[in-house]
Structures are given as C-alpha cells and as structure tokens.
C-alpha cells in the first residue's frame, strides 16, 4: 500500500513527529491550542475526502514534495486559506495518483501573513507554475525562485489580493 509506504517515509523526515489529534475537529469543540507545525495525519477518507494530511514547515516543503514526486503522484492543485485571526496564510497542495492504489495527499504549510513567502515547487512539478501564480496573486504570497511570478488571472497591472479576508474592493 502506497499510503503506508509514504507515511513511513514522511515520518522519517519529521523525526520529532509525535501523535497528534485529527485535523477535523468535532462539532462545538475548539481546536487544541496551536496546531503543530509538522505532522503526518491519517484522515478518514469517507468524511473529508483525502487519506493523508501532511503539515510541514516551509523549510521542509521541497523535501516533502520531492518525496511525493518520487512516489508517482500527480499534482492536482495548489491553493491558499487565509487564517486572519492567527495571522497566517495556509497554502494547501493536493496530490493524487493515477493508478488504483488510491491515495489522496494534502500538504499544508503556513506562512506569516504580513511577509508571506514560500519556496517554489516548480522545480519538482513543472505544473505548479500556474497554480503558484494564481495563489500568489490571490493571497499576496511571494514564491521564492518562481521563474515567472506575474499575475495570471487578474489584470497584469493590478496588485490586489482578493482572497485575503481583509480585502476591500
């Protein structure tokens, strides 16, 4: 099973990764303090639609994505979520596989809201190019090392970030 194989390999990357509560918090409950910066969580596919939820610090992002690439995953999408109350932007990378060994992997990394910057993964997945450009313009994130980080969907001369929660048109 690719899921176990990948999980083991990833846990090898995060040696201090201890057991953590699941990502989906039960109704009415507050999430316990701050979410851990690095973790590999097996999630319930039937309730949330993916198998592995990986939290990684930005420094280890490329390492994690390369590992996923070596296991023949294809890139599905990249997007962001603005957690304005915590002052952070979460960038979410989705990966899946073409074969029947179904395994959907979500990689999450967080960056500071005021000075948002992350390493690019275009070196690993060429198809991340447009996804990163879109995330960059919508959330105002600088993907360091991106070959062509200009606006994709928004007008080329605009510098608004519409998906930030404090965006006023």
């Amino acid at each position: 099973m690719i899921r176990e194989k990948l999980k083991q390999a990833l846990e090898h990357l995060f040696p201090a990764g201890e057991a953590v509560p699941p990502a989906i918090v039960a109704e009415g409950e507050e999430p316990a303090e701050k979410t851990p910066r690095e973790a590999v969580i097996e999630t319930d596919y039937a309730t949330c639609g993916y198998h592995l939820d990986i939290k990684t610090p930005p420094e280890q992002l490329i390492e994690v994505v390369s590992l996923i690439d070596q296991n023949d995953f294809f890139i599905e999408s990249i997007t962001g979520v603005d957690w304005i109350e915590e002052g952070e932007i979460e960038v979410v990378y989705d990966f899946s596989r073409y074969d029947f060994d179904l395994c959907r992997v979500v990689v999450r990394t967080r960056t500071d809201r005021d000075n948002a910057a992350l390493p690019t993964i275009t070196g690993v997945y060429a198809g991340a190019n447009w996804h990163e450009r879109e995330t960059a313009e919508f959330f105002g994130i600088n993907f360091i090392g991106h070959p062509h980080l200009v606006n994709l969907l928004l007008p080329e001369d605009s510098d608004i970030h519409p998906l930030r929660k404090d965006f006023k048109p």
Partner: protein
Amino acid sequence: MNQPVELQPDETFVLNVGPQHPATHGVLRVKMEMNGEYIVHAETVVGYIHRMHEKMGEVKPYPQFLMNLSRLDYLGAMGYSHCHALCVEKAAGIEVPKRAEYIRVLMVELNRVSSHLVWLGAFIMDLGGFTPLLYTFQAREHILDMMERITGARLTYCYIRFGGVSRDIDDQFIQSARDFMPYMRKELIKYHKLITGNIIFKKRMVGMGHISPEMCRKYGASSGVARGAGINFDVRRNEPYSVYPELEFEVPVYDGCDNMSRYMVRMEEIEQSLRIVEHALDQLPDGPVMPKKAPKIIKPPAGDYYQATETARGTFGVRLVSDGSQTPYRMKLRSPTYSNMHLFDEACRGLMIMDAMAMMGTLDLVIPEIDR
C-alpha cells in the same frame, strides 16, 4: 523605403494568437515565439473572463452558490454542480435518495454526450471541416430539448440541489432518452465514416502533438489528455462516487500519446456514456427525489473537505473549508482544463503553428472554466 524585413537564420519573432481567435474557443491568448514556421516557446495568457467565483463562494451562503457552478463550463455544467453538491452533502452529512442519485448520473452523462458533441464539431471545424459541426449540433439539440423539459434550462442548469434534484423525471423523458440511444449510435457510425477514416484528417492526427504520460503527471492532466497517453485513469472508476459502482461502463484508453489517441478516447466516451444512461434507465429505482427532511439551512461542521468527480473535461475538484457557519470559509474550484491547458506551453514546442492549433483542439478547452 518598403524594404522587406529579413530575419537572420536563428532570429525568432513573436506571434500573437488571440485573444479573439476562432481557434482558441473563447478569449484565450497565446504568445508564440516562432522560428520560421516552428514554435520555439509559447506563453499562454489567460484571465480575460475571470469572474472570481471563489470569492463569490466565500460571501454567499451555500445554496446561493449553486448557480455559479454551471457558469464555469457552459457545455458540461451538470457535472460541476454534481461535484459541488456531493462535497457539501459530504460535509453537512445530507443523505441523498437513491432515485435522485440515479437521475443526477443520467443528467450528467447526457450532458457529457452533448459536451463531447460540441467538442467534436468545433474541433473538426478547427481543422477545416465545416460539415460535422452541423451534424453534431443536430444530435446535441435532442439532448438539450430533453434536458430543458426537466431542468428548465438549456445550458446553465441549477437542477442539482443539496439532498437531491429539483424535479423528478417523467415517462416522456424516459421514452425520449430511450429513443435517443439508437439514434445516437447511428449518428456515431456516421461520424466515424465521415471523419475518422479521412486521410487528410489522419495526416494531421496520427503521431502529431505528442504528450507523454510523464508530462501528464507533472502537470496533473486528466480526461482524454491522460487517457490518450495510456494512463488508465477515470475518477468515476478509480475513486468511485455516487452510484457509478453499480453501473457498467468501460474506460477507453489509448497509448498513442498523439492527437488521434485523444480523439478516439473522446469518441468512445460518447458510446460509454450512452451505455451508462441506458443502464441507469434500466435500474432506475422508485422513490422521492429529495429527502423528506431536506435541511433549509446548511451548516457543515468546521473542517476541510475535498471531493473530485469526472466531468466532461476531466477531474474537477471542490475544496471546501468550513468554519461551521452558513457561508464557506474557503471554496476552491480545481478546474480540469486549467491543468490541461498549462501543459500546452511545453507540449507545443517544436510544432508548426497549424499542428499546435490541432493539438489545442484535442485538449477540449472551455475558457470560462480556466478563468473561473
């Protein structure tokens, strides 16, 4: 004065295709750096019809966002609504009656056939053949009429609701759908006679527009692009959802990696969709099309949910981040053509411009769906 411009042997020039060009099927612009007749480098410029659907998803309550989904891909809109409804139902824990799920699949598959028919007609027109467009639009008209009677719209449906569908199908619909099957199969034979064997067509298709499986993986391609490169991948079967596990169909796969393979995959998909429709009609259970206690206010528990489905154009995904309120915290729409089109920049290098246009046709583009 009027001296002709002479280029040095290695000198390139930039050719601008679009934003308004018949072969780009909408407002899409490609900046092509040309060396004579050959493309050295291409840069696709998208975003001309960007409407920020994802922001609309964040400010509207769940039911109000339903109609936005059919404005993404105006040819295969039903599949997109289906995915969104499945994702919200999964998050909010809404049960869907069996009959409603069957009707959804029926409509999605009929819509897929109509979408593929437009692709076929428009694609052959890109290659210079005008006749097939008239035939395919004639056949498509039957589907649109059928669906219009039930859903109330010809293209931008708002038929799929949370918990079921807005209206039950009747005997007249079932009869017209059954009558349509033999008609469409005959039409398909006609298309194959008219197009597939044509020698001019073959010369532009076989071995042209190479897209390798590795490239598909790096860019996340799906639908005919991936299946035309020998990748046996269809969300309906690899990651079963809805009632697809109960229905019989095959996934056509060709490993030529060229235009012809992608063309053949889509042609066979029409046949398979007909098969699904026929089978679903046979198995159609009785019962309600909405649950008795359909919730009026949708409040999924806080969390992060993902749902992918196979639409006419490939893998469509909805990521829903809920904070437990009536409006989503984040609604991400992963569109299939976005990834398929991204691949074009790399795949068209070294091709002649005519062949690049033929390849663009096989990607089955719908621009509003890229721009969202």
